[in-house]
């Protein structure tokens, strides 16, 4: 038998109306190795920035994934609206000449 006795959750007021205060959501960015960019790896909850870093360390770097962690509260991120996908992104689909694929790259340059 486990000796854990988890505390009771705070009672909720009426149907579907919880008084439980959730911690804010944070987005986590991890640099895999020196020289690479920080990449978004996921999100988590934490009461403040310092705990968010600690939680990120525990949740996202267990298998030696990182050398640096950034966290930012999700509410500070401004995102594009999915409904505006057409006007925002479709115009560039027909402009293949913007891709630098019409040049012969010398072999000496190697992988780009």
């Amino acid at each position: 038998m486990s000796s854990v006795t988890p505390g009771e959750l705070p009672a909720s007021e009426g149907k579907g109306k919880s008084t439980r205060h959730e911690w804010p959501l944070w987005e986590v960015f991890i640099r895999g190795q020196h020289g690479l960019n920080h990449r978004h790896v996921g999100s988590l909850h934490a009461p403040d920035a310092e705990m968010a870093i600690k939680n990120a360390r525990d949740v996202y770097t267990r298998r030696n994934e990182g050398v640096s962690i950034w966290v930012v509260e999700s509410r500070h991120i401004t995102a594009t609206a999915p409904g505006e996908k057409g006007p925002l992104f479709e115009p560039s689909e027909s402009k293949i000449y913007r891709h630098p694929s019409f040049f012969d790259i010398p072999d000496d340059v190697g992988h780009m």
Partner: protein, 255 residues
Amino acid sequence: MAKQDRTTLTEFLLRMGDNTLILGHRVSEWCGHAPVLEEDIALANTALDLIGQTQLWLGYAAEVQGEGKTADDLAFLRDAWDFRNVLLVELPNGDFGQTLMRQFLFDAWSSILMPRLATSSDTRVAEIAEKAAKEISYHVERSADTVVGLGDGTEESHTRMQAALDYLYPYVGEFFLSDAGDAAIAAAGIAPDPASLRAEYDDFLDRVMAKATLTLPEDRFTHHGGRNGEMHTEHLGHILTQMQWLQRAYPGNTW
């Protein structure tokens, strides 16, 4: 190594390894039960770190003992009276706050001891301590922050943390009890005399509890009997029945 020295060193290593083994098992009991996912993973990480340290301490203990045993034999085939952990680590988890308070009280001691062990005259002890020190400095940062957060939190969390401190504090004195074995270990430069760590420990606790708005009990009475194996609490036997049942039911089984 003379037989007497070997016995004394084995005893010291068992004390180190049994602390981390029993606390590691206790903390692992939270796996899947913690209040939020992030804390669940953090607790599981801590438990794994502690079990990792156990492998090193008990592995070395088995070598020094020289009876052909392994760390696993020591962990899974000894009975309660052979364990040398302090009573604090075998106490029940209670609620999340009590678990984190116990963790902090242990981490604080461990974080003061480990840098000193890193300069041990015994190179194996020094190597184990150096490896463990990094894990421990993270543990203590995390557990101290949580004690402060919950102590200086809501009325409910404050009350629970104060109750946890009142319950657990009468067990911390056992860390600092010294016996003839400790004196021999200290004289050989293997580890400091346990009593010599108390002042730094008290300072550390004073600082964290002040931030956490918690009151340390004034009474210095301490329960003891774990690290010398005289008398464990009733909880240890229950832990062992769960921890050891597979090796007891299927001796020598591996996976």
